[in-house]
């Protein structure tokens, strides 16, 4: 289904969706992030990109898995905490983030199904916004199989056409969302489609960063695993968690028991985001750490994204959103690192 929605009607559409929880980019200070929106009429879709990707809606940084309580050693009461299935819509997702969620779905729903993620995902409709201008100078989605108007993972894709949005449904759920307020939409005229193609092609051209021979790099990575390449490239790394926490596909987590009361014992088992750059990530209980230095941790991040995942799922674990480049406190640039991999000779 392909429709035209006048920008004036956008907020009316949102108002009609009052049976859904609506998430959209919200600005606080200088930082944008996806938040639950109380007044959908205030949503502004003209935004750069958020610091934290929309994965936080489906895979929150803190998730309570179960609650436990024990009054004696013999008896421990467990209560599983399963998220409520509340129909939700995330508005204004960029194509890179949407494909990130599609990749997360492969991880959390392929093989073993993660209830927490999938319960939320099943009830969430993703409405994307094509990028007419790359939201960040570090965008490189076209190098990793994406595009600024990719429909991968989306239910609806909207494109800004000036005074109106070109709204295209990708899935049945998306179609239903449009139909629920069909009176607000118009059929597109013929020349509009040409215009749309033009906008899309132009936006692709505006992306400045590019990774050459990504397939070759991917297969070359294991060859340079043991080289001092990683020592050199990681010299300025400070081992913070910005790159992975801001990554739309990084999904490692840690599970901890948070004790609220020691007697009678009461607490929660929670899952929180974890990070391959942190010192305790691979720490064994013996005290041995197989990834003791920053070289091995940077290597892990690159290998996981461009080699391991590629071997397992035949795709890259990177969507080219450029967040890790823009936000790195010491200017480590994943595009440059990969270029150096490409030209590296032992």
């Amino acid at each position: 289904m392909q429709m035209i929605l006048s920008k004036m009607n956008f907020s009316s559409w949102l108002k009609k969706l009052n049976s859904y929880r609506i998430f959209a980019p919200v600005k606080s200070g200088e930082v944008w992030s996806y938040e639950l929106v109380e007044k959908p009429e205030n949503i502004i879709l003209d935004y750069p990109n958020t610091i934290i990707p929309p994965k936080k809606v489906l895979f929150p940084q803190r998730e309570v898995l179960l609650e436990f309580e024990s009054s004696s050693e013999q008896e421990i009461k467990l209560k599983e905490v399963i998220p409520e299935e509340t129909p939700s819509v995330i508005f204004g997702i960029r194509s890179c983030d949407a494909s990130g969620l599609a990749k997360l779905e492969k991880i959390f729903k392929g093989g073993f199904e993660d209830l927490y993620f999938s319960k939320r995902k099943n009830q969430t409709i993703l409405v994307g916004l094509a990028c007419n201008i790359p939201p960040s100078p570090d965008c490189f989605c076209t190098s990793v199989g994406g595009s600024p108007y990719s429909k991968d993972g989306l239910d609806i894709l909207m494109t800004d056409m000036g005074d109106e949005y070109y709204v295209e449904s990708v899935t049945e759920e998306g179609e239903k969302l449009i139909e629920s307020a069909i009176g607000l939409f118009n059929d597109p005229e013929e020349n509009v489609k040409k215009e749309l193609e033009k906008i899309h092609l132009e936006s692709e051209k505006k992306i400045k960063r590019y990774i050459k021979d990504i397939d070759k790099i991917s297969s070359k990575l294991p060859e340079i695993f043991e080289t001092e390449f990683w020592d050199k490239e990681s010299l300025s790394c400070i081992l913070c968690g910005i790159c992975t926490y801001s990554c739309p596909v990084c999904h490692c987590f840690d599970i901890n028991d948070e004790v609220i009361c020691t007697f009678p014992l009461k607490g929660k088992r929670v899952r929180t985001w974890d990070n391959c750059q942190f010192p305790d990530f691979t720490m064994h209980s013996s005290g041995h750490n197989p990834r003791p230095d920053k070289a091995s941790r940077l290597r892990q991040r690159i290998m996981h994204k461009f080699n391991y995942f590629n071997e397992n799922c035949m795709e890259l674990l990177c969507t080219g959103c450029g967040r890790c480049i823009s936000k790195c406190p010491v200017g480590i640039d994943i595009v440059e690192v990969l270029e150096k991999v490409r030209v590296y000779e032992k």
Binding site: E30, V31, R62, I238, C240, Y245, N256, E258, V259, D280
Partner: protein, 343 residues
Amino acid sequence: MVKLDDIKKECKSILEEGKVKYIVGYKRNNNYYMSIPAFIEKIEETDQLIWDPTCVYNLVRFLRDEKLRKERQKTPDTRPIGVIVKGCDSRAINVLLQEKFIKRENVYIIGVACEKSGVIEKKKLRKKFNEKNIKQIEFGKDNNFIITTEKGKTTISAEEILAERCIECNNNTPVIYDVLLGEKVERSLSEHFRSLEKFESISTEEKWNFWKKELDKCIRCYACRSVCPMCYCDECIADSISLAVKPDTTAEEKAQKIRWVEKSPVSSENFSYHLIRALHLAGRCIDCGECERVCPVDIPLRYLNKKMEKEASEQFGYTAGLDPEKPALVSDFKDDDPQDFII
């Protein structure tokens, strides 16, 4: 004014003489107007070095990596490493010496005086320029910065985009160095604790609302800790390294284990983490402002440390990083330390 050629010359000569293993300095980011840390090993690489108002990094942070690297090597190269430091950064070296974390002979200090300017603050810059258009920022004459954009060069008074910490800085000249480049210039741009003034006039509730709003944003990426030259603890209180859970660890034992800070990014844990960090940096923080700069969600972390610095200075007459021979703030006392608040 500090001449870049002087920096390059000095670096070349110490590399030639084999005095240092490598030099940590600043170089240009290929795709961005900011500098990035540079690790210079070869003489020809010294041409990459730059010195401009985007040299914000406190490179003393990397002495910790060098120390760890050396500990892992069987026959380490024991030569010192060279490090380019600004006034604030040099005080960090003094603190590390004072705490005996490094030895003086481990480091060759190339001090660079900020004279009458300092480094930029991106937040201020963004208000005046579209970051995407900026090509380069340089020191100009008379306390000005020259900003090159696609449209050409603009001169702007340094104070307009100078980092708040530079405006409040008292140590524009390095306090410890092997070689000093630039001149010792007396300057007083502003009051040393000016940024804290706005907190003095607000009520307890307003203070709480401010910090609650700010610290609730924290995503616990620990960039503040990671970038800090003083945060070198092997086991940080925020990590779970010391809490190894073995197969025979009972639920009871787990419950009894002290965990000062949980990993969850909820209000109470964020407060615990940031308050403990501020207290651990009391008398050690040298106000390089790196924690605040790297924060991805813009928490004004510097105020917490600045507050501790202010109390150390006003109540105990202590300033961090001036004298490595003196005892540290909290491992010392005076008989007449203030105690009016004690009942």
